[in-house]
């Protein structure tokens, strides 16, 4: 995975935000008329090091029901910076998955907005990729074709190139050799690996994960958790920020740099903590246990 040649292919293929704006980055971004007028200070993308990658600003969400308005999210704000692994948690029904979908651009907030590098997110973009709790693979396509399907929006790539990228992504996710296997023949853990490969194939900067390990058995989930941090946050990966929804406290303390806790419905931010445990994290250490207890106290 850490082959410099392959890293070069991945990074050369997929535009990254580095120093000043480059032409290829421009080409990959939505044109100004697609972006709302109420975006960041200059309407252009903020460059790295200049502020939050993802910014949630005073988001409210409510639905109209027969009995009246149902508030789901109330005045939620948070910022995710470069190299941060953010966990979003709270009791069932608090709206954390909904908030993730607002960040992804799949749902619109009633009031408030979400920004990616200063630009308002109104619809899904290539820079933010999503991994689903139930994998959502297409059962009639092989693993490789599922990852290739993830590259659907890249019309500039030839089929052969897409296959190459997809093959590499599967290898990185630990599924080398399983390209021609159908999802029906894969275990839960392997399906999620395909989901991961599919999400990473586009070289996104932000990874949004909706309870990615909760549909897996404990052993598989453990194995994936151990791999996921290095897979996502290593220097050759395009990922700069991760936002993960989870209700597993141990998982959060093991993986996250920061945790945002939402209250029961209607969800608002109770606390936004920085988990300063050193990596690699030792699940049996006292500090770890203390953090777990602390987090539980906020959730209870």
């Amino acid at each position: 995975m850490n082959n410099p040649a392959r890293a070069a292919i991945l990074t050369a293929r997929l535009p990254r935000v580095t120093g000043g704006p480059s032409e290829r980055i421009r080409a990959a971004q939505p044109t100004p008329d697609q972006v709302g007028s109420s975006s960041g200070p200059s309407g252009e993308l903020l460059q790295s090091g200049e502020g939050p990658i993802v910014d949630v600003e005073h988001v409210n969400l409510s639905f109209r029901r027969e009995k009246g308005e149902m508030q789901v999210l109330v005045d939620v704000s948070l910022s995710a910076y470069k190299n941060e692994y953010v966990a979003l948690t709270g009791p069932s029904g608090c709206g954390k998955s909904t908030l993730l979908r607002i960040i992804a651009g799949l749902t619109m907030a009633s009031t408030g907005m979400v920004k990616f590098r200063g630009q308002e997110i109104r619809e899904p973009r290539a820079e933010l990729a999503m991994i689903f709790q139930n994998f959502v693979l297409l059962p009639w396509k092989t693993s490789l074709d599922n990852v290739v399907f993830g590259l659907s929006s890249r019309n500039d790539l030839a089929d052969l190139e897409k296959k190459k990228i997809a093959t590499e992504a599967l290898e990185d996710a630990g599924l080398g050799g399983f390209e021609n296997v159908y999802p029906g023949e894969l275990s839960g853990g392997m399906k999620q690996r395909v989901g991961i490969a599919r999400a990473l194939a586009l070289g996104p900067q932000v990874l949004l994960m909706d309870e990615p390990f909760s549909a897996l058995d404990n052993l598989t989930a453990d194995r994936l958790r151990r791999e996921i941090y290095s897979l996502l946050m290593n220097p050759t990966s395009s990922i700069q920020t991760v936002i993960m929804v989870s209700h597993n406290v141990e998982e959060i303390v093991e993986l996250a740099d920061r945790v945002v806790v939402l209250s029961p419905r209607p969800g608002h931010v109770i606390v936004d903590l920085k988990i300063d445990l050193p990596r690699p994290r030792n699940k049996k250490s006292d500090e770890f246990m203390l953090w777990v207890d602390k987090l539980y106290s906020y959730l209870a």
């Binding site: 899904p124 959502v136 009639w140 659907s152």
Partner: protein, 506 residues
Amino acid sequence: MILALIFSIIFSLAVGIIAARNHRAETVIIPLLDVLQSIPILGFFPFVIFAISGLIPGQAGYSLAVVFLIFTSMSWNIAFGVYEAVKSIPQDYIDLSFMSKSTSLQRITSLYIPASLSRIAYNTQTSWAVGLFYLVSSEIITEGATRIPVRGIGVDIITYGLAKDYTAYFYSILLLVIAVIIWQFVFLREFSLWAERYKFVEEPRAVSRDPLMKFYHWVNQKSVSKLFLLRPARGATSLTASVARYRRGLKYAILILLAVFLVFEVAATLNSARAGLAGFNLSALPSDESRVLVALATSFVRIWYVYFIVIAVAVPLGIVIALNERLYNSMVPVIEVIASVPAPILLPALVPATMIAGAYAGELTAAIVIFTGMIWYVLFNVMAGIRTLPAELFELRASLRVSTLQAWRNIYLPAIATAFVTGSITAVGAAWNTLIVAEYFVGNGTVPITQVGSGIGKVIVIATTQNDLSTLALAVLSMTALVVAFNLTVWRRVYHFVTKRYAYNR
């Protein structure tokens, strides 16, 4: 109609539950239902008339025959629904009922029946429209065959139409449509909604303030409380290898018999097509029989070319409507009502219209009638296929920013594959039944108002009116043999393949 429905449901419940819970019964009942469901019903109707009129002559006899026909048309479908529903009750619930030591009757009323209700409701909706078709067709055929005036909407409407009394024709159709609408909204919809609450999947639903719903609620509570009474527990049974072998054996036996018949027919058809209708040479078959087999082959081809037109229309239409929430909600009631209007009623209006096709008018009329008989099955199944897709699949599509064309190719079309096949199987099966009306129609006169050059439906109708029992027997039996053989060989394989590869289940 209602009588037939009630009998159907009772019969289906009995058969379905027995089949699902008793494995020996299962091995016999299910293949039998399979075959019975495939048999084109109207083909047997002439026999039913002769049989029952022999026993109970006069008006009562014919009414009974009609009820019986409609009963058969609905039962197999509903029985299958019950079977599937009871089979898919999660084992936990069954264990619970045994452990609470409830009696068989309690188990039936509080577990099996509620579990089957949503399937019964759904199948009733589709069976209802089908039943109406048969009702109208059988009224017409009965009249044609026996010259006894039968009272019924179908006959009345056709009579008005043929007499060119267009105002009466129009108004009676309107009346029928209104009756269907009322029936639909008063009964069928309530039935469906009520049955929804018996599903095993937890779905948050708005509770209705409707007094009818409150009554159902009360009934529900009464039966749930009965579940927890005491009785000695029994061990659970499991499907043994020998029972599985019985099933397969039975299937193969039927298959082989019909394959032989089919081969015979194909050979006869090819032979006669080569040698011309007169003077063909297939030993032991007089030329009468060859006419029948040629007619069968012609009808076969006819059904299939109409099928391709049907899918070209129904698949895109179904997907488009089902994807759009507002469109779906507004169109579905309309479609349901249109689908309930039986095709034969339209014939008096259709025939003058297709005159423009000149020599092909009969063929065009037949094609249109068959089309209307098939399209609803495919359309409804495709729409249901889309509606049952989980939201996350659409979220995936949006988050990957997949274009419309790509979405259709990679997501929507594969996703409906199983529903499409199910719909196709039912549609083609229904098509055979429409032939009796589509290919040769006399109405209340003696001269046919529409007919095709050659077709098995035509053969059957003419043979019935001429009391030509031997030809009739050959026609009906060969048609049945072809349909059943085709089901077992082609459809079964296709269905198996499609469910394996294309079914969306996580």
